[in-house]
């Protein structure tokens, strides 16, 4: 992915690979390693499959990127739960009928946006730390899910949604990948070519200066959390299309990987620096790594260890890069 080079200032003489390039290289290395260990790992069909798995994480992490760029300890831990809730609402309202797609998606996204709004207001007006606010929100949404479903998810994805997500369009690529590409471009546009995006970077880089430049930091932050929850809701709908029927913890496990994808993509947890191109690569790295570990038949415990080590190695590389640059 080639985004504008805004976050990677290049010096004419000493070009060094930025986080995005480094993470991309790691993804390639992992794929080659997979092919060596288990021939066929890098086959076309297999790669398409990996990309499809990465897409869900990639879409959820759009919102996470936005919130983390906003700085001030910004993070949205509720994205997984919100995605689950959106899928549950979508499934029940669709009830397997194409005619219900529009109201189902609209309601799911509206509820998601509402949750994001509460997150945003809690963080800005009540000054609750984002970590605490969105962690608490997980519990609230879990309660809403139980109240809404009575403990038993119901309904079914509409066939049109399923064929949009799973149907092969060109080159045997599923529609999901094109949707991811579209949403990814939307994210890059939002961040790089809108007043919201530039305000967001400004607030993340220096909130006081942003306010004294006429930016409304509170409004920008609230919008960031609304967008985060909305993209999470969208990811939930896509997951629903993929799995056709839902279960009560469908997308919960995306919580930490969504943060990891953002960080691997070179976005600073401190805010103000980063972008979606990196996050997309980060989502791919994480997914390929999972695929490789599955292929190697490595058990749960060691899997977690390897995940952690890869994250630490990449981050220490980035730290080195930044020092060399400055």
């Amino acid at each position: 992915m080639s985004a504008p080079t805004v976050e990677t200032p290049r010096r004419a003489l000493a070009w060094r690979p930025g986080p995005v390039a480094l993470a991309g290289a790691v993804a390639v290395v992992l794929v080659i390693a997979g092919e060596l260990v288990s021939p066929g790992f890098a086959g076309y069909g297999q790669l398409v499959n990996l990309m499809r798995v990465a897409a869900f994480l990639g879409v959820i992490a759009i919102g996470q990127t936005i919130v983390i760029i906003a700085g001030g300890g910004g993070v949205d831990l509720s994205v997984g739960k919100v995605a689950t809730f959106a899928a549950i609402i979508g499934s029940r309202v669709m009830a397997g009928d194409d005619a219900n797609i529009v109201p189902a998606v609209a309601l799911a996204l509206l509820v998601s946006a509402g949750i994001g709004l509460v997150n945003g207001l809690g963080v800005t007006l009540l000054r609750i730390p984002p970590f605490v606010m969105t962690l608490g929100m997980i519990g609230v949404v879990q309660g809403l899910i139980l109240a809404y479903t009575g403990g038993q998810a119901s309904g079914r994805a509409a066939p049109a949604l399923t064929s949009l997500v799973n149907g092969r369009i060109v080159f045997d690529l599923p529609g999901l990948l094109f949707l991811w590409l579209l949403l990814g471009l939307l994210a890059v546009w939002l961040l790089r070519r809108t007043t919201f995006g530039w305000n967001l970077y400004a607030v993340g880089a220096n909130r006081t200066a942003a306010e004294l430049t006429g930016v409304r930091p509170g409004r920008t932050l609230v919008l960031a959390y609304v967008l985060s929850a909305t993209f999470a809701g969208l990811a939930g709908i896509l997951l629903l299309g993929y799995t056709e029927s839902v279960f009560l913890d469908l997308a919960d496990q995306y919580m930490l990987p969504s943060v990891a994808a953002v960080v691997i993509g070179g976005t600073l947890l401190a805010g103000g620096i980063g972008g979606y191109a990196g996050t997309a690569v980060g989502a791919i790295v994480l997914t390929v790594l999972q695929g490789l570990l599955t292929t190697l038949d490595i058990g749960g415990a060691w899997r977690t260890v390897v995940n952690g080590v890869v994250l630490l190695v990449l981050l220490s590389l980035y730290g080195r890069q930044r020092r060399l640059r400055s």
Partner: protein, 529 residues
């Protein structure tokens, strides 16, 4: 009597600024010694050198005849030096007792804290100030719950708990009430009687005369003189602080400064008129401020005409920055009106003020003015991009680039690429970016808080030219400056502020460096807030 403290040849450089240029200070045991000088003369730096919070580039400090190496506050403490600054070092969540004994908590032999001893020690230190607390000592209250003046007293008690031989009081009376000042002075006199040296800095000259025995005057980082205050008049003291050591004739000798500005040939040393390069007659009154009051400002009144540069003078920290922040909607206004062209300015938030045509170049560039890690492009676009955006949202990259380029050319900002982080630029160019972002918004009112502070001489001149240009185009310009020469060069009028109120207004030929300094210092303090 031999000197307790001898500081000689102390030098300290901050970036491009020589804060101390061979300053010296000799003070005796059992005296209260004032350290005086105009803004930027280096008194605070000298204080901090003594207290170990600033390490000088060179110079010698002798205490009691022995050479002292002060590499940090701990060294200073070990040598018996304690300091109190205007900015508090109180930890709000700790109790008063914990604050007073912070760093020297008494421990039992077991290694656990001895709370009773701590409380006793704090009580002893605070006892002499009992009168300042209306009787009861708030030993167990969190420090944050005290009033500012009381916190200041706790700060002094904390210094005294260290049993210093030398006590530095740097603007330590600024937040105190009159009665509290009296209590503090009583304590200082007791300390003097006990042989302690107190180094005292205050912007209130009457306090200096009431308390101090001798005074050392600094100017431009050098020591000018040390005088005996009992045989020195206030006038003589002020004269020592201002530029010319000779007795001051009327005012003409100051005028040539304006001509020496260099860039503007139009400003040729005229005496009477407020000549400024390229500026036509100021127009009608544009900005009207009536009874403006905030936490730090009292009842400020003034008007500014279109095309006029209004300077804000006085000692630093007398409310100049607060006034600019208030006019930009960034400080809560408790009373008063601000009108632009006869209509009330919406000053409830900076965003609303900016949309109404007000711009602020804040005093602390790194913290308040720029986005160090973001590209120059975004730094320049941010304040005005909503004007160019479609539906206030969609930005056009070429349009933003054109706008940024136009400003880079107009202000002569030296950059590599617009995509470089603004932090890669020199200080002067960074400041031009901060100014440039507002020029793109075409503001009616431009508020500048010490815009040329810490930039090199060439950039300074360029920033002056920008300010003159703004006025020439009919903007209302309000300029706060800690540099009196800057005020004389640029201002049509100067308001001298003192403790949050307008103390004096200087116009035309009265705007000289000498007048600015004497006006800033010689005012009767009157009652505090």
């Amino acid at each position: 009597m031999s000197a307790l403290l001898e500081m000689t040849g102390v030098r300290k450089r901050y970036g491009g600024v020589q804060a101390l240029d061979g300053a010296s200070l000799t003070a005796l045991r059992g005296e209260v010694h004032a350290l005086l000088g105009p803004n930027g003369s280096g008194k605070s730096t000298l204080d901090k050198t003594l207290a170990g919070t600033v390490v000088p580039d060179s110079g010698e400090i002798r205490i009691d005849g022995a050479q002292a190496r002060i590499g940090g506050p701990r060294d200073a403490h070990a040598l018996g030096v304690a300091a109190v600054y205007q900015q508090l070092s109180i930890v709000g969540d700790l109790t008063v007792t914990q604050n007073v004994v912070l760093g020297l908590e008494p421990a039992r032999r077991s290694g656990f804290l001895d709370h009773r001893a701590a409380r006793d020690r704090a009580a002893t230190a605070l006892e002499r100030f009992a009168a300042a607390f209306s009787g009861r000592l708030p030993l167990d209250r969190p420090a944050a719950s005290l009033r500012p003046g009381e916190q200041q007293i706790v700060e002094v008690a904390k210094a005294l708990a260290r049993d210093p031989r030398i006590l530095v009081l740097d603007e330590a009376t600024a937040s105190l009430h009159k009665e509290q000042v009296e209590v503090l002075f009583e304590v200082v006199r007791e300390l003097r009687a006990a042989g302690v040296l107190v180094v005292f800095t205050s912007h209130r000259l009457d306090e200096v005369f009431a308390l101090c025995d001798r005074a050392t005057v600094l100017r431009n980082g050098r020591t000018v003189a040390t005088v005996d205050l009992s045989s020195t008049s206030e006038d003589a003291l002020v004269r020592l602080m201002v530029a010319a050591p000779r007795p001051e004739p009327a005012s003409p000798p100051e005028a040539p400064h304006r001509a020496s500005a260099g860039t503007s040939a139009a400003a040729h040393g005229a005496r009477e008129a407020p000549v400024r390069g390229g500026t036509a007659e100021p127009g009608a009154v544009a900005l009207e401020v009536r009874g403006l009051t905030t936490d730090r400002l009292r009842d400020v009144d003034f008007t500014v005409r279109a095309g006029e540069v209004l300077g804000l003078g006085g000692l630093q920290g007398q409310g100049q920055s607060e006034l600019l922040l208030a006019l930009f909607g960034a400080a809560r206004i408790t009373a008063g009106d601000v009108l632009l062209d006869g209509e009330a300015l919406p000053l409830t938030s900076p965003a609303r003020a900016a949309r109404a045509g007000v711009a602020l170049v804040p005093g602390d560039r790194a913290r308040q003015g720029m986005f160090a890690s973001r590209p120059i492009q975004e730094n320049l676009s941010l304040a005005s991009m909503r004007r160019r955006a479609r539906m206030k949202l969609a930005l056009s990259a070429p349009a933003e680039r054109r706008a940024a380029r136009s400003m880079v050319e107009r202000l002569g900002i030296k950059i590599g690429s617009l995509n470089d982080p603004v932090a890669t630029l020199s200080g002067g160019n960074q400041q031009k970016v901060v100014i440039g972002k507002w020029l793109l918004d075409r503001p009616r009112v431009v508020l500048l808080d010490d815009p040329a502070k810490g930039v090199d001489v060439a950039a300074k001149e360029e920033i002056y030219a920008i300010i003159r240009g703004l006025a020439a185009e009919g903007a209302v310009v309000i300029l706060n400056s800690s540099d009196n020469r800057e005020l004389t060069e640029l201002s049509d009028r100067v308001l001298v502020l003192f403790e949050g109120a307008v103390a004096e207004e200087l116009t035309a030929a009265a705007i000289t460096e000498n007048r600015l300094v004497s006006s800033a210092l010689r005012l009767a303090p009157g009652e505090t807030l």
